[in-house]
């Protein structure tokens, strides 16, 4: 079930990314293609089968997980910047790439890299749930690492939520508003993901749905914006 969900998410993202290649080659908004491509790689690395292969090749020290973290940071930073700019949300921009945003990013990077290097991460394990070293210290370090990894996307999502909701409620044309609604849904899922630790164990599988919703919300929301632009340039805008 979860495998189907993950592979479907991957297929959707990969499809959107491939569809965006021609326009990226033409030089139209390459960063959007970057978001699609990075998301695709990030989903690939969160699927166990692929993760284990890549990590084995990297020395089975779970460096693939560290790479995955930075792929996610890259996606949300890039997407957050572009979305905030597109929606003309000055305040969101300030919280994402302004002094505050840069400080948060720096702290998150430190809180990601330091615990990872201090911890004993031997033995490939998707999501670092079943590392061989289960000593208290190691478990604590990994928990800090995981919390930092989930915090940053939630932070960016929280910065974007007001701007996306404002756009949904505005009187702009339909497609950007629907796109903004999908982005807002993805942002909500991204924020929820931070609290998925609190889910009781029997419901832990729900976090896969939440993370898929988050990624699909981002990718499909942006794809709708893209569709809107294509349609708007094809036929002259109606008033």
């Amino acid at each position: 079930m979860i495998a189907i969900l993950q592979w479907t998410t991957l297929a959707v993202c990969a499809l959107v990314a491939v569809a965006r290649i021609p326009s990226a080659l033409r030089g139209e908004n390459r960063s959007i293609f970057g978001i699609f491509a990075l998301s695709t790689f990030a989903i690939m690395l969160s699927i166990s089968t692929i993760y284990l292969v890549v990590d084995a090749w990297l020395g089975a020290e779970n460096y693939a997980n560290l790479i995955l973290r930075f792929l996610i940071y890259g996606v949300v930073l890039l997407a957050g910047y572009k979305i905030a700019k597109g929606f003309g949300a000055q305040r969101s921009m300030w919280f994402i790439v302004g002094p505050v945003g840069r400080t948060v990013l720096a702290l998150v990077v430190i809180a990601t890299v330091v615990p990872f290097l201090l911890a004993n991460t031997t033995g490939s394990s998707t999501g670092l749930g079943t590392l061989s070293d289960q000593s208290d210290r190691n478990v604590e370090l990994i928990r800090l690492y995981t919390v930092a990894g989930r915090f940053y996307p939630s932070y960016i999502a929280a910065c974007l939520l007001p701007a996306t909701i404002r756009t949904v409620r505005s009187r702009l044309p339909k497609l950007p508003r629907i796109g903004a609604a999908v982005l807002a849904l993805g942002a909500c899922a991204m924020i929820l993901l931070s609290f998925s630790e609190l889910l009781p164990r029997p419901l832990a599988y729900l976090q896969y749905f939440i993370s898929s919703t988050a990624v699909l919300g981002l990718v499909l929301g942006l794809a709708l914006m893209w569709l809107g632009r294509v349609l708007a340039t094809k036929r002259p805008a109606r008033t």
């Binding site: 908004n29 979305i83 008033t239």
Partner: protein, 248 residues
């Protein structure tokens, strides 16, 4: 409330006993699927009735009043007030009247209703619904309509901004304001002025009756609100462009 399908079909049977649905759709220009859908749902739009009535050469106003929910329309309709008539003159026609009354030095004729001034355009115009409601509003009208119909004030305002008003609400508004029922139906474009029984020269006469001061103040108000609308549209256009540039 749209017309009940049963009553509509009875009416259709009376006014066009031999015509098939296909014939009706062909002469009235209604899509067959649209009519079929309305009949299946049990609610027929007033515009459907008006189109068919018009196509059959009948009086849409009388036909509409043969339905229970529009029974109040029957009989001799109360004529529109002067303010209502002026509200149905397009903003550009008002401005043209201002210029036409000005002295020849400014391109006018210095008189009222000169024969050289182009005729007024037919109602409805781009903001006719809001202008009509403004013309009959005593300040409490929206609350009374809202209380009488149960439609939330913000939904009512949204319809006015979109230059729309359901026929049911248009009638309810007229009732709440104590004016004739035809004003709203003309302002929303359901009926033409002639179909509503308005005299052909009524609008022009109401315009000519305005003093220069009244006319200029009114044109100024209209121009200001037009400016606001245009500015908002420009802003929205800018926002959309920004979204396309960054996310498209």
């Amino acid at each position: 409330m749209p017309l009940p399908a049963k009553a509509f079909q009875l009416w259709l049977h009376v006014v066009a006993p031999t015509a098939s649905t296909a014939d009706i759709c062909r002469i009235s220009g209604i899509k067959r699927t649209t009519l079929a859908q309305q009949l299946v749902r049990g609610k027929v739009a007033e515009t459907t009735l008006v189109s068919i009535s018009r196509a059959l050469g009948r009086s849409p106003l009388e036909d509409l009043s043969s339905f229970d929910s529009y029974a109040g329309l029957a009989g001799q309709p109360q004529p529109p007030t002067a303010a209502e008539l002026v509200s149905q003159i397009a903003t550009m026609d008002l401005l043209r009247a201002v210029i036409s009354r000005s002295s020849p030095a400014y391109g006018g004729y210095g008189d009222d209703g000169s024969s050289l001034t182009p005729a007024l355009g037919p109602a409805p115009h781009a903001t006719s619904v809001r202008n009509w409601v403004d013309a009959i509003d005593d300040g409490e009208l929206r609350h009374r309509v809202s209380a009488a119909t149960g439609v939330a004030p913000q939904n009512y305002s949204a319809q006015l901004t979109a230059n729309r008003l359901s026929p049911e609400l248009a009638v309810a508004t007229a009732r709440a304001a104590g004016v004739g029922f035809t004003g709203g139906l003309v302002a929303t474009g359901l009926l033409t002025e002639t179909e509503a029984g308005w005299a052909p020269e009524a609008k022009q006469a109401a315009l000519d009756a305005l003093s220069d001061g009244e006319l200029t103040a009114l044109a100024g108000e209209r121009l200001q609100s037009l400016g606001r609308t245009l500015r908002r549209q420009e802003q929205e256009h800018e926002q959309t462009k920004k979204i396309w540039e960054n996310l498209g």
